[in-house]
Structure formats: structure tokens, C-alpha cells
């Protein structure tokens, strides 16, 4: 189980999850009483297909140290193909992120179904570990804030 050690850096993590699979999976984590790090807070979307680049940048600009994007498994998307589009878009974002100096390791892409309560806890804990090692994301935040970040990509 994660313990919030006071000395070590505790990253702020936002999770963008889809309503049908991962949100329900995270509900199951709760129903199963599986514990995970408090660092992660969830925002619900209809589908990972809804999540655009701007939102990721917005999160970094507001101080996120890491982002988890999680939805249904390939082929299991509640909306047929939303997650597939999300995945494809992510491939394009990666290069863009790299370009503006955001470490792509600060974004974790995962699939968690409604039946995978335990997996959600794993994803959270592993991601928090990963972000913890990367340290605070302040430099990117400054960069993003200063570069007069606009709501158009």
C-alpha cells in the first residue's frame, strides 16, 4: 500500500477517465476496498475520445505533475471507437508534447475495464511511483504559462 511519506515528493495527478469502463472500474476498486495512493483525483468524461490536447495542457499549466488517461479496452469501447480515436490522437500528441518540453512519461495511457478494480489500483500506484521519480513539473508549468498558452492548439 502507498504511504504518504512526508519527506518524499508527492505528485499531483489528474485522471481523465471514461464513464463506462474506467470510472466504473474505479468504483469497483472502492467497492472491493482496495487501497491506493491519495495523489490521484478523477475527472469523469463520457469517453476518452472526448479528451483533447488542450485539456492536457490545461492540467499541466495548473500544476499537475502527471496525468492518467484511461478508458475501455480496445474493441470494448462503449461508443464503438472513441477510445481508438483517443489512442491515435495520443500518438500525435506525444511528439507535440516532446516538442514543447513536456516529458511524455508524465502521461500514462491505460485501459481499465469496469471489471478491473484491482487493475485500477495498480495503474494508480504505478503511475504515482513513476511521477514521483520524475519530480515536480514546475519547469513545464512556467513554460506553458509564459508562452501565452491559448485555448487553441
Amino acid at each position: 500500500m502507498e504511504t504518504n511519506n512526508t519527506n518524499s515528493f508527492e505528485p499531483k495527478v489528474v485522471a481523465f477517465v471514461c464513464n463506462w469502463c474506467t470510472y466504473a472500474g474505479a468504483d469497483l476498486t472502492g467497492t472491493s476496498r482496495i487501497k491506493y495512493a491519495t495523489n490521484v483525483k478523477i475527472i469523469r468524461f463520457p469517453c476518452t475520445g472526448r479528451i483533447d490536447f488542450m485539456l492536457l495542457m490545461k492540467a499541466f499549466a495548473n500544476g499537475a505533475d502527471g496525468i492518467i488517461i484511461s478508458g475501455c479496452h480496445p474493441n470494448d469501447c462503449h461508443y464503438t471507437s472513441g477510445n481508438f480515436h483517443a489512442r491515435r490522437r495520443w500518438m500525435i500528441f506525444r511528439n507535440l508534447l516532446d516538442f514543447i518540453g513536456v516529458d511524455v512519461n508524465r502521461i500514462v495511457f491505460s485501459w481499465v475495464s469496469a471489471a478491473e478494480g484491482a487493475k485500477w489500483a495498480e495503474v494508480v500506484n504505478e503511475s504515482v511511483d513513476q511521477f514521483r521519480q520524475l519530480g515536480p513539473a514546475t519547469s513545464y508549468q512556467k513554460l506553458i504559462k509564459n508562452s501565452e498558452f491559448q485555448e487553441v492548439e
Binding site: D27, L28, I43, N62, T80, H85, A86, A115
Partner: protein
């Protein structure tokens, strides 16, 4: 000015044990725009809901945040309460501080802080919520039932009796499913065929039911109320309208040695065949893989003997499209059947068989006319060893779950054997006896006390053949692991029940979720056991998890009631959380540039083009348009629109951005 009410629930102690609810309420009361913030033991109780309603009236609230369990649990409850107090239900949001907070963290300040952050996030969201009106769509009152086992049969009859149309799609040549293979059924030992066959006939005769056998679902689109289902009718090589089912073709077909699937390989069938004599419809199909004509280009004996000239060798698969308001999955289960257990010699020794094969041996209509004879030499076995949990509860070689039905059918098998072979001895190696239904424990006790079935607690390690006997090596764990070696004449494995093959593909076609064992997932394990997560698609029977007949039939009637309930309205009310193209004043009309990037990405073909015309009818601009009847609100188009001209109600830019900011800024 926003006037938001925040209601923090303790959920008994489910939340308050790890989250300081009073503190959360207090901090929330200081959030900008929050007018009232209170905590209470059970928000969903009547007094809890009344609290919300009174606050709405008293403070003229513009939004409500209930901080409690998952919205998947109680969002409708609280939205209804708000509506009753005159607040548009879409101005109510739930902050999930139970499943996503109190249950997943230990009691600590960090946990309370997280709860506060979650509440703040939803407060910021709800401030930006808009009053929305539900959408109404018409309902096509036809149900497509997929799978014609006892579940599909029962549900079809119930829906049809309620006055609605049913299309029943079965992929085998006959309906009946596994139940038609069973001999007698626990716990009453009534003859399976005797109770099932009349219902099968009813299905065929019911004016409201259209039956397609030898048919499969090709594709499904649309959504609740209005699905469009394309069905592939596999070629039976036969004109069903002409065929009278006389059976002359079957008698004359020269290919007679094909192992019969229905008889679990213990009997044989011809190339043109009906699976079993009571089949519905009782009309044959040609199995093209084994038919001499399809292999070698000659024979056609069936065509020659057919009195009505019904045979069609050149018939191809055809398709029908059905409009349906609801779908029911009833595709049942299968038994694990590979030689996954080399140590038990399954697939290697003829006399090691599985439970379904034993059913055929015990069935009066089976290959031995109900006499228990071993497959290798037809002898009557003096000793039979039954091995329970053969593949179930076995993460290493089989599946980890308990198949639930095999304890009972194994007891039944041992009993049937004893009834037929009085001098025989049945042994059952078991780990636990799970007999939890009505009259089940009594049934097992009867097997042990009256029919002298020898139960031995222990798992068998190995079965091997020696001098015509099967040597079964096990232990008695109730005797400190003492070795038990039995020289048996036959071994019956209670193999695991698994999802029906093809379940995964079907689930993907229908967009319903399934678990890791490929069984379809119900929407809620307790409260929505016959619904799937996809609106308008229901499930019943062993396709959800292995079930016995009483449970299967109960689920089927339950699902039928749900569908009949859906069909009792002419219009379906739907949440309006869908996409809209933003409009603005002329001369721009909309920021949409008409790039139409959004059209191909929509999974529901919900986007088309709209022409904006001036008074004299000249087209000024073509922009995209979203059909509210088709849009499901996935938001894919939103992410694709470069000019941010599409928004999704309930998850619009303002709302989600405000959420991100609120979540992070005070962290």
C-alpha cells in the same frame, strides 16, 4: 449569482470512517457561490432527500452537489429529488467521495483533503451546468433474442405473450440449447425433454415470434429503442417452405458416420441432418463440410429422394435486417472440452468422458437408449468415478471460478447410475459440495444416504489405464491425506462451464461489456442483473455465468419483464447529454468552418451537413449538424473539431476546464 447547495453524506460510516465529513462541509461552505453546506448520515434516505428539497426551496438554489457515493449509484435518485423541488435535474451533480475516496484510502488528512478537492471540483462544474430537457425517441416494439436455449425460449415466449414481436436467432439448426441434451434434471429428476419440447413447439407456433435457426448476428447499429440488426441466415441448402420434414433425405444419405455434436460424439449422424428427433424446426440442413456432393461434386441422393424437391445445393447465405427496440443476449455457455488435463487422460482414454456425454448415456433418447454403457466396449461399468471441479476452481489448468452447476449434476449422475445399475458403485471425488438451491442439499443427502454414493473429499492426481481398467489415484483429505486408488470402469469429469464460443465477438458487435472469462457483464451485480451497461441490451441465462435451469428461467423472465416494461411506452426518455454545434449571431452564424472532420469520426453516423440560408434562400454557409436522435454523446467529434465548434452538453469546455482548474489549484 450562483447559489449552490452542498450535501455531504456519511453513508453510515462508509464515508465518515475515513473522511472528516463535518470538516468537508465546513470548508465547502466557504467556497465561492456556495449558499448552504451540510453533512448528514444517509443522504439517500427520505429525510436526506427532503433536506435537499427543502434547501432548494428555502435558498432558491441554482445548483446542488451531493457528495456521497458514485453517481452510477444514486445520480438518478438525487436528480429526481431536485426535480421534485422544482430544480432542473441536470443542475444536480454528485461528488464521488465514497468509491473514489473513503473506500480506497486510510483515514488521514490527505483523505479528507482529497474529498474537499473533489467537492470543490464538482461545485465549479455545477456552477456552469445548464438546465436541460430530456430527449424523447420513439420505440420499435420488437425484441431480437439471440440464442435459443431455455433462456431464449422462455424470454421469447414471455415477451411475445405480452403482445410484442420477437425475432429469435439461433445459430444451430434447432433451438433447445444444452437443456435438450440433458437426461433428467435435478433436483426433481424430471425428464428434460418432456418439459422443454412443448415450449420449443410453442415458440415455433407463436404468432408474435419469428424464428431464424442456423442464423447469426452479422451487425448491430443504432441504439435503445431503435436498433438495426442485420442477421445472416446461413445456407441450409434447402427451401424450408417446401420441406415437410419427412426425413426421407436423412434416411438415404450415404454419409452416416459423422460424430453427432448433439450426442457428444457418442452417436453418429448423416450429412443432411436434424440434430435430434424433437428438433424445432424439424427440418434438416446439409453440413457442407461432410456432404459428398460438396466435397466430390457427386451424390445428390437427397435431392433425388426428396418428394417436394426442396433441396437447393446452390443456395447461398442470405441476410435479413430487423428493426428492434431491444436486444436480449441468451447465448448460454459451453463446457471446457480440450484435453487440458493430460493427467486425467481426457481425450486419450475413451472411457474418460465429460458430464454432457454422461447425460447422453443416461438419456432414454440417447445412443444407448438410456443404458449406462462405456464407450470403449459397450460394457456396463461396475465402478464409476466422478471427478468434481475438473477444470473449475483451478487457476493453473482451467478457470478459477466455481462452475456452480456441477456439484449438483454430479450428484444427479451418480444417482441416475445407481438407479440404472443397482450393483454398481459410484464414487465422487469432490472438494466441497455446493448445493445451495431449494431442495438441493436434500438431493445430495439422498444420493449419499439412500443411493449409497461414495463421496471422497480430495482431488484426483492422475487417471491411467491398465488392463482395461482406469486407475484413479486420489487421496482422502479427511483421513490425513490417505491414498485412495480405485480401479474404475469409467471416469466422468465434471468439466468447467465456460462462455459460449464467439461471445467476445458478439459482445464487441453489440458494445456490451464482458468479464475476463468472456461472460457478458450485467450492469449491476445485485440491482441490475439482467441489464447490460448498454441501454436496450439485456441478458439472461448462462451467458452471464454458468447457471442451472431454475436460475436461467428466472433470469429470462426477468429480462422479458424489463423488455416488456420498455415497450410499454411509445416514447423513450433519454438523457440529453449529447453534442451540439455552437451557433452564434449573423453574419458568422457558427464558428464551424465546414471542414467536416467530425463526420467520419462519429461512431453513430450522427453528424450531417446543415445549410444556412438567407431570407431569399441563398446558401450562406454549410456547417455540421448533429442528429439528437442518433448522437450518444461520446464526445469524439469534440476532440476532433479544430475550431472548437462542437460541445457536449454536460461535459462542455467550460465545465471540464473549470473542473481541471478547481481540482489542481488549491491542491
Amino acid at each position: 449569482m450562483a447559489r449552490i447547495g452542498v450535501f455531504i453524506c456519511h453513508c453510515g460510516e462508509n464515508i465518515s470512517a475515513t473522511v472528516d465529513c463535518e470538516k468537508v462541509a465546513k470548508v465547502a461552505s466557504e467556497f465561492p457561490g456556495v449558499t448552504v453546506s451540510v453533512d448528514y448520515k444517509y443522504m439517500c434516505s427520505d429525510p436526506g432527500q427532503n433536506m435537499v428539497k427543502e434547501a432548494i426551496l428555502e435558498h432558491n438554489l441554482t445548483g446542488v452537489v451531493v457528495s456521497a457515493c458514485s453517481p452510477r449509484m444514486h445520480e438518478p435518485t438525487f436528480r429526481n429529488a431536485c426535480a421534485e423541488a422544482g430544480l432542473n435535474p441536470f443542475l444536480c451533480e454528485m461528488a464521488n467521495i465514497r468509491e473514489h475516496c473513503s473506500w480506497v484510502h486510510e483515514k488521514s488528512d490527505a483523505t479528507t483533503d482529497k474529498a474537499i478537492d473533489i467537492v470543490r471540483t464538482l461545485v465549479e462544474k455545477v456552477k456552469r451546468n445548464e438546465a436541460l430537457a430530456p430527449i424523447y425517441v420513439p420505440i420499435t416494439k420488437t425484441a431480437v433474442v439471440i440464442g435459443g436455449g431455455v433462456a431464449g425460449i422462455q424470454a421469447s415466449l414471455d415477451i411475445a405473450d405480452a403482445g410484442h414481436k420477437v425475432v429469435l436467432v439461433e445459430r444451430e439448426p434447432s433451438i433447445g440449447g444444452h437443456m435438450s441434451q440433458l437426461s433428467e434434471t435435478f433436483p426433481t429428476l424430471d425428464c428434460s425433454q418432456c418439459i422443454l419440447t412443448p415450449r420449443m413447439v410453442d415458440v415455433a407456433r407463436h404468432p408474435n415470434i419469428t424464428l431464424y435457426t442456423y442464423a447469426e448476428i452479422e451487425s448491430v447499429d443504432g441504439s435503445i429503442g431503435n436498433f438495426n440488426v442485420k442477421i445472416r441466415l446461413k445456407s441450409k441448402s434447402l427451401d424450408e417452405k417446401l420441406c415437410t420434414g419427412c426425413g426421407a433425405c436423412i434416411q438415404k444419405c450415404p454419409v452416416k458416420k459423422i460424430p453427432s455434436e448433439f450426442e457428444q460424439g457418442l452417436g453418429k449422424r448423416t450429412a443432411i441432418y436434424v440434430p435430434f428427433p424433437q428438433a424445432v424446426p424439424n427440418k434438416p440442413v446439409i453440413d457442407r463440410v461432410n456432404c459428398t456432393y460438396y466435397i466430390k461434386g457427386k451424390c445428390k441422393v437427397c435431392e433425388i429422394v426428396c418428394p417436394t424437391k426442396a433441396i437447393r445445393f446452390d443456395q447461398e447465405d442470405s441476410f435479413v435486417e430487423v428493426q428492434a427496440g431491444a436486444l436480449l443476449l441468451a447465448t448460454g455457455f459451453d463446457v471446457l472440452k480440450t484435453n487440458f488435463f493430460p493427467e486425467y487422460g481426457y481425450g486419450k482414454y475413451e472411457d474418460v468422458i465429460d458430464g454432457l456425454a454422461f447425460e447422453r448415456l443416461a438419456s432414454a433418447s440417447g445412443p444407448t437408449k438410456g443404458e449406462i454403457r462405456r464407450p470403449s466396449d459397450g460394457e456396463i461399468p461396475k465402478k464409476i468415478v466422478f471427478i468434481a471441479c475438473a477444470g473449475s476452481r483451478d487457476p493453473a489448468k482451467g478457470i478459477e471460478y466455481c462452475s456452480k452447476i456441477c456439484c449438483m449434476y454430479t450428484a444427479k449422475h451418480a444417482m441416475l447410475y445407481k438407479h440404472k445399475v443397482h450393483e454398481g458403485t459410484p464414487y465422487i471425488f469432490y472438494m466441497d459440495i455446493r448445493a445451495t438451491g431449494k431442495m438441493y442439499e436434500e438431493f445430495v443427502r439422498r444420493a449419499i444416504e439412500e443411493d449409497e454414493v461414495k463421496y471422497i473429499r480430495g482431488r484426483v492426481s492422475q487417471v491411467y489405464e491398465k488392463n482395461g481398467k482406469l486407475i484413479v489415484r486420489g487421496v482422502d483429505t479427511l483421513l490425513m491425506g490417505q491414498a485412495v486408488e480405485i480401479e474404475a470402469d469409467m471416469v466422468v469429469l465434471a468439466t468447467a462451464g465456460i462462455a459460449s464460443p464467439g461471445s467476445e465477438e458478439l459482445a464487441q458487435k453489440l458494445h456490451v461489456s464482458y468479464d475476463k472469462h468472456k461472460f457478458f457483464s450485467e450492469a449491476h451485480p445485485k440491482l441490475k442483473p439482467v441489464e447490460t451497461n448498454t441501454a436496450g441490451i439485456y441478458l439472461a441465462g448462462a451467458c452471464q455465468s454458468t447457471k442451472d435451469i431454475p436460475e436461467t428461467v428466472a433470469a429470462a423472465s426477468g429480462a422479458a419483464a424489463k423488455i416488456a416494461g420498455l415497450f410499454s411506452n411509445d416514447l423513450l426518455k433519454r438523457d440529453p447529454l449529447i453534442a451540439v454545434v455552437k451557433k452564434c449571431a449573423p453574419p458568422l452564424y457558427s464558428s464551424c468552418t465546414g471542414c467536416f472532420m467530425c463526420i467520419p469520426v462519429c461512431p453513430y453516423q450522427a453528424i450531417d451537413k446543415e445549410e444556412i440560408k438567407d431570407r431569399s434562400g441563398n446558401i450562406i454557409k454549410t456547417i455540421s449538424h448533429i442528429n439528437p436522435g442518433l448522437c450518444q454523446g461520446c464526445g469524439t467529434c469534440v476532440a476532433f473539431c479544430k475550431s472548437k465548434s462542437i460541445d457536449i452538453l454536460g461535459y462542455n469546455h467550460d465545465q471540464v476546464c473549470a473542473e481541471v482548474e478547481a481540482l489542481l489549484n488549491e491542491w
